[in-house]
Amino acid sequence: MLDNYIPIFLMIAVGVLFGIIMVKLNEWLGPKRPSEEKLTTYESGMEPVRTARERFSVKFYLVAVLFILFDIEVVFLYPWAVSFKSLGWLGFVTMTVFVVILFLGFVYVWRKGALEWD
């Protein structure tokens, strides 16, 4: 059973190794001539203003929270989608009720303006 996953682990290992080798190869082959100006943060040629470690729009957090909420819904739909024929109408009605409740939440989020970007 778990044997089927060995090629996947092998492939992940190859991918990670490929990345590491390429990064190291570049570090090794490329020239090394650092200067203070070269190592400053790029800001279109201007003197950098403060750092980038600052507060940013809360909207991004909101999107992340909403994503988790609806992604869990999607994950619940998958097992049902695989076996919905054996679950029949009862399964369908149960799932519809579940989706409708979540959709009400979605409408609430929409009405509250959480999906607006200004």
Binding site: I6, P7, V14, G19, L39, T41, V74, Y78, F84, T96
Partner: protein, 343 residues
Amino acid sequence: MDILIASTKIAVVLAAMLTSVVFLVLVERRMSAFIQNRIGPNRVGPYGLLQSVADVVKLLMKEDIVPAKANKPLHDLAPIISIAVAMTTFAVIPFGNAIELFGTTIKLQIADVNIGILYILAITSLGVYGLTLAGWSSNNKYSLLGGLRSSAQMISYELSMGLAIIGVILMAGTLRLDVIVEKQTEYLLGWLPAWNIFLQPVAFITFFIAAFAETNRLPFDLPEAEPELVGGFHTEYTGLKFGLFFLAEYMNMITASAIVVTLFLGGWHLPYADMLGLSGFALSILQVLTFCGKIVLVLLFFIAIRWTLPRFRYDQLMSLGWKVMLPLTLANALVTALILLAF
């Protein structure tokens, strides 16, 4: 023995993908040049065929600059995550039917797992880490905004992507990609191949749009919108570390096309091919070629879209994802289930 076969398959697939990226980049540059009435790269090798190879060598010889204020370990880690994810997604995609070789039957799929689609969704969502870490670790405002934008965009469209696939799973009743392709080899009304594009048109269109957004391609390339964010998350990357992001983007494009082909365009199925009277081995080869041909067509469509459409504004992008695609795909899943149960 199994390990040997698996390693061979991995080597062949990865080699094929890396070579296709080399040519895909060239095709994209030549095609964009054609669309914009330019000539495009044609100096390195015949017809410019070696242009991408020259670019890789050039990137390899460039200085690897890590800004003084950047977080060095994460700055190195980000491109590695991106490329590892891009290289592993292909593992579960069947690129042909089982093939008879030296008396053994070999399945043309690297890992034959029963959770195929879930694996693809899981691995592709890991790709977000690469972009977000690249944006954050650079300690550059452009990079940070680019990284945040790309993660918000990718997770938003992942929802519609997951929901669009539900329609396909309902038709097939399984998460195995080889079975999903096999179901599509039947015929509707006796002549139309039962590809999911005909059975699930809404899912196909929404999935295709989401695939554009997931690969950060125009019209969804907000993460690296040049006029406002310079290079986006890879502003502070030089040399081959930038090259790895570039490579990952193109590999993701190939994988996304392969997924579209597998789920909606019948995978390796060539309609009426079994009537040609070919031997089993020749038929298998023909099917692999069919699969590659379909991927090439989807890729050409990707490129043509990139050079003909303008970019979305960020609020338009988010409202398309949340207000149009999400309800649409949800309704599609429920309506599909209703129709399947009623008949």
